[in-house]
């Protein structure tokens, strides 16, 4: 990676948008990442919440500008306003709700068709805490064993209803991990299963995205924008300084 010294000092701003069906836990994922908190029975988001959080990689610091969007149907038409110029997107689904993966797929399609062509998309299956203890899929023994470890820690805090029966919790899973992963690979997405409640996989998710962001292009386009000669291919997509174009206003 050819970093300029400037990059190590000044955080690179990355616009990230969270999309997904209502009640899959988008806000909880963000809350866990930004404040390391979890709040049960969160009220549905209205429109979108805007938050920032720094993400430190080995050689540089990213500053995520996070758009946590509302999942309700009526906000769908406003989504382009939020994902426009985003360099990263986390599409969240609920592993205990099969329909939420279908919705996630349609978001991915929309992003691939209409968002910034270089956008890094991660597919994240949330609510892993509801099915812990279960070897998620064959062939992922490493993940399964770490999930077992989580389980022990989890039992202490989890509500009785959720851990009463192993069989009960297993039956909650509606989206097999390998199915989602196969889809993600095919569509060229990052993929992980996470739990906003326990925090499992959250930081890793955002770090993995950070590693995949084409930082050079962002920096290059910054320089290019300053020089007035933008890289025709990339600049419109990754130009972060594009803040003041009133003509370019409402996309809805």
């Amino acid at each position: 990676m050819a970093d300029t010294s400037d990059a190590t000092q000044k955080p690179i701003q990355v616009k990230l948008v969270l999309l997904g069906e209502a009640a899959v836990g988008k806000s909880s994922v963000v809350m866990r990442f930004v404040n390391n908190e979890f709040q049960a029975n969160k009220e549905p988001t209205i429109g979108a919440a805007f938050l920032t959080q720094k993400c430190r990689l080995e050689d540089r610091v990213l500053r995520y500008e996070i758009w946590d969007t509302a999942g309700q149907e009526r906000f769908h038409s406003l989504a382009p306003m939020y994902y426009r110029n985003a360099q990263a997107a986390v599409v969240v689904y609920d592993i205990t709700k099969a329909a939420s993966l279908e919705k996630a797929k349609s978001w991915v399609k929309e992003l691939q068709r209409q968002a910034n062509p270089n956008i890094v998309i991660a597919l994240a299956g949330n609510k892993l805490d509801l099915v812990t203890g279960q070897a998620s899929t064959p062939g992922t023994s490493a993940a399964a064993s770490s999930a077992d470890d989580e389980d022990e820690a989890d039992d202490a805090t989890a509500t009785p209803g959720e851990t009463e029966e192993e069989a009960g919790s297993e039956s909650l899973r509606q989206v097999p991990k390998d199915e989602a992963m196969a889809y993600a690979t095919e569509a060229g997405l990052l993929f992980t299963e996470i739990s906003a409640k326990t925090g499992e996989g959250i930081v890793e998710l955002f770090t993995d995205i950070a590693k995949k962001i084409p930082i050079e292009h962002i920096l290059a386009s910054r320089g290019a924008a300053a020089g007035g000669a933008a890289n025709a291919n990339r600049a419109p997509a990754v130009n972060l300084n594009e803040t003041s174009d009133p003509k370019n206003a409402c996309a809805c």
């Binding site: 009220e43 988001t45 429109g47 919440a49 370019n248």
Partner: protein, 566 residues
Amino acid sequence: MASASPAQVSSDQAVTIEPSGVLSSSASISEFSHGGNIISNSHHGSSDHVYLMEDSSGSDGATPNLMRSPEEVAADAERLREQLKKSLSRGREPRTDIRDIPYDPSHEQKFPPRQFFVLTHAGKPVFTNRKIDETEGDDITNLIGVMHALISVFEDDQDKIRSIIAPPVRITFTIRPPLYYVCVTPFAEPESVARIYLEHLHLLILSVLTGSQLERILTRHANYDLRRLLSGTTTMLESYLDHLPRSFAILASSLSTLRLDSGLRLRVADALVPPPNMKTRLKDILYAIVFVDDKVVTIARPKKHTVHPADMHILLATIGSPAVKGSAASWLPICLPRFNSNGLLHAYASYLQLPSNSAASASQPAEAGEAPRENEEDAALTGGTHAPAVCLVIVSASGDFEVVRQWADVATNRLRDGETLRQLLKAAQRSTYSVDELGIPGLRHFFFKSRPNVQVTSPIFNGIEAHAHDERDQVELEDEWERLFNLYRVVWDAIHAKSGQECTLKLQYVRTEAVSVMGWITKSFEIYIALSPRLPKSAAIGAANAVVSWVKREEAKLFLRDAPVF
């Protein structure tokens, strides 16, 4: 029946109502609750006629079941229509009047919870705050069916059903095609007040789904289930419905202003005025507002836009929802129906935190997004349940977030830098005042509306009955407040002649055993005062005058008078 209606008193005449009269006439009203329901409609113009509706031939037959065939439903409707005609021809019963206001603290007179229903013109349920009783099963579907049938029957005759009087409740209908609104409120509450609730419920729904959106969806698919589009708004709707009956500002269609030193208010206003180099980019801005809790501190706006109080209450209901309060900054689509009921605007809302004295403020206080980390550090300063919450709101017609955020950052920094925010938070904690501050003997509470400013002010409520300073628990206090507020509502209704009174009043005086209430309206103000019932009428006038001159002295603090225009 107390038929000599004091509601028809001419202007300037004071009316005294003795508690005995209250009891007797409310007793006579309750007779009807056994015989049947009274229906009033507006068919004959402003003077509402009240009819007795027989409940004899089984209301079951008139209850349309949505599963029935269209023929059966039509037959039901026909039966219902005949039933209504029969009842309407029974002739007119005298309207209830001000003597029927029950005010009896000793009696177990509890206000039943107010119930609200919203349905589409096709009879599909949209929203209700009625708690579903498991044992009653499909109760709400049936209720909605009956409501829809009643509305339709009157609509077929080119009439509109307005209300059903069924003590101890009153059922009020508001038709706002393609939606129908129904509420069940205490009978003692004037119908005009119930209409205000319903209108505000309608406005709040419009703020989520614009008028044109509603029209489009329900024209295309008459049977569309709007609950899908309203999902996630239940909490907001319910808490707004809880708030409605407690808000004098909403009743008086005004803003509630934070009492504040005028210099400090001016500094907040200055912080909101956009810097000259940004002005051209901010042409789509409607308002920039600073609220403390549900009170306005100041509003900056371009010359061409005016502020409608109802829109402000809608805005407050939206930004007050937990989802917005819980995040550092929100960017939300909202329709402000009084501004434009068909257009979607965008609101930036950010609850401002004090900059921490440590590293955070040194590094990057400029970023609104940094707030979440400061949350923790400032919890000690601004935390606690009664800590005032300062919210900066910018409403824009354009969806360009960056422009608004830049301005919001500038405004936020200005507020933080000059210690303005800190002072505002401190001042907000001291902004309430007690009626004792006025030093007017016998005065227990009041509401004052400045008509030119369209703003209200009132002291905190400490109880009005007998020993104002006694220890009493919260429940008693709230019951007392509910009773007093209802007197205010009744007087408000009479003064504005909202219930078909022959003319508006300038002054009305109502006395009960525990408290007397006087309402008085002039060109420049509207005042409602609660007094000790032992105070003679003449003293009431004196007390009202004393409040008015106190308000005049304090005007600069109590009201927002010079809102900045840019």
